[in-house]
């Protein structure tokens, strides 16, 4: 199964999860997602998602000047983002449980 399609639906949730405790800049967040096992995640998808979450008010952003090169843009979660993370987590868990059940006992689901 193509995981990039699956990722599209849950990338918001994944990104919010990896910045829950520590702020990060774009490439740093890409690295964290990959380290967590999302090997197929694309840089541009993550940057776009960060920008959209920021626009929607779930993330705050700040620029950190660098002495040796271009500035870095850090993203951090805020209260709106935490609420979104919480509700998305609930949704995801219910969804995953449903799908797990379907995969484990397909007959019972079909008869119900």
């Amino acid at each position: 199964m193509d995981t990039t399609q699956l990722l599209k639906g849950v990338l918001d949730l994944a990104v919010l999860a990896v910045v829950r405790d520590v702020d990060g800049y774009g490439y740093d967040i890409v690295r964290r997602l990959r380290a967590a096992g999302l090997a197929d995640v694309g840089e541009a998808s993550v940057y776009g998602t960060l920008r959209r979450l920021y626009q929607n008010g779930a993330l705050s952003a700040y620029v950190v000047p660098s002495e040796e090169g271009p500035h870095r843009k850090y993203y951090g979660i805020n209260d709106t983002g935490r609420k979104q993370l919480e509700s998305s987590t609930t949704t995801w868990r219910a969804f995953a449980t449903t799908l797990d059940g379907l995969l484990t006992h397909p007959d019972r689901e079909a008869l119900a």
Binding site: L11, Y25, G26, Y27, G42, E43, A44, S45, V46, Y47, G48, T49, R51, R52, Q55, V63, S66, E68, G69, P70, H71, R72, K73
Partner: protein, 301 residues
């Protein structure tokens, strides 16, 4: 660890920026903020060309837009008729723009647009009033006999004209409609204004299409022959140089020749001494001097 002024990073960044050129500058720069540092870090960490690692800058930009919830570059790609017309006119327009003074002239004409909108409304009103009146409706257009109706029509026409002008950039269909309105209004104004078919009414009576014309421009309706002694003649038959009976307009009593043919060239039509109604008689006609020998075409010695 970052690499300062990596040419590969700069080129990649430039191409991504170009693929976002349709976005508002602030949005674009916000989207790209921090990207250079990240690209430089990626390069330092993994080496190799960025295109191998990230794909083409265009694909990268497309993915960025998609994930950020922004519309794809040029959201409406289908080529419309308007696009094609614009494309066909582009070289000509660019050449026109290259002329010295083209910019200020175009700006000046642009500033005159509202004046043209009002003028167009006036022309449309004038054309409608001229059509309704079958004649020149005057400088202040009257609709029928009412100046008020003309002015109300003028106000309405200006509103429509200004609306058309302001919608100009909205859609190709509106531009086509506007051009059509302009052509119709201007050509009708020219037809009514220059080729004024009612002008003749102001310049005297209608010129007859055929028959004899008197020196003052009116049709000849009666002929009064006199003999050499100045006496009025009756029942004179006249023929032209082609042998055709010479007829003038107007009612005449029905006459026939002995061979049964109708005689429509007998003069005077009304031999009564007073003549026709409104007719001016020549008064006493002086006798002729005897004809001199010689050419008939030289009546004077």
């Amino acid at each position: 660890m970052t690499t300062v002024h990596d040419p590969d990073v700069a080129a990649y960044l430039r191409d991504v920026r170009a693929a976002l050129d349709d976005l508002p500058p602030d949005d674009r720069e916000e989207l790209l903020e921090g990207l250079e540092a990240d690209l430089a870090e990626l390069r330092a960490e993994e080496g190799g060309a960025l295109t191998e690692r990230l794909g083409t800058p265009e694909a990268y930009a497309a993915e960025l837009r998609s994930a950020a919830g922004l519309p794809p570059h040029r959201a409406v790609p289908p080529v419309t008729l308007g696009d094609r017309v614009r494309e066909a006119l582009r070289p000509t327009l660019e050449r026109l723009h290259a002329f010295p003074g083209a910019g200020p002239t175009a700006r000046f004409l642009g500033e005159l647009r509202p004046a043209w909108w009002v003028a167009r409304g006036y022309l449309a009103t004038w054309v409608i009033c001229a059509s309704a009146a079958h004649g020149n409706p005057g400088v202040v257009p009257q609709l029928g006999d009412s100046v008020l109706a003309g002015l109300l029509l003028f106000a309405g026409a200006v509103v429509v004209s200004v609306w058309l002008g302001r919608q100009w950039r909205r859609a190709f269909g509106i531009r086509v409609a506007t051009v059509l309105v302009n052509v119709v209004v201007i050509s009708l104004a020219l037809v009514h204004g220059i080729h004024d078919p009612y002008t003749r009414e102001y310049h005297g009576p209608t010129v007859p299409c055929c028959g004899l014309i008197s020196p003052n421009g009116t049709a000849v309706t009666e002929i009064r022959p006199y003999d050499s002694e100045g006496r009025p003649l009756t029942d004179v038959q006249l023929y032209d140089q082609y042998g055709n009976p010479l007829e003038v307009g107007g009612d005449r009593p029905l006459r026939f020749r002995e061979d049964g043919t109708p005689a429509q060239n007998v003069y005077p039509i009304d031999p009564a001494p007073d003549g026709l109604e409104g007719e001016v008689l020549p008064g006493p006609v002086a006798p002729l001097l005897p004809r001199r020998s010689g050419s008939p075409s030289s009546p004077t010695p």
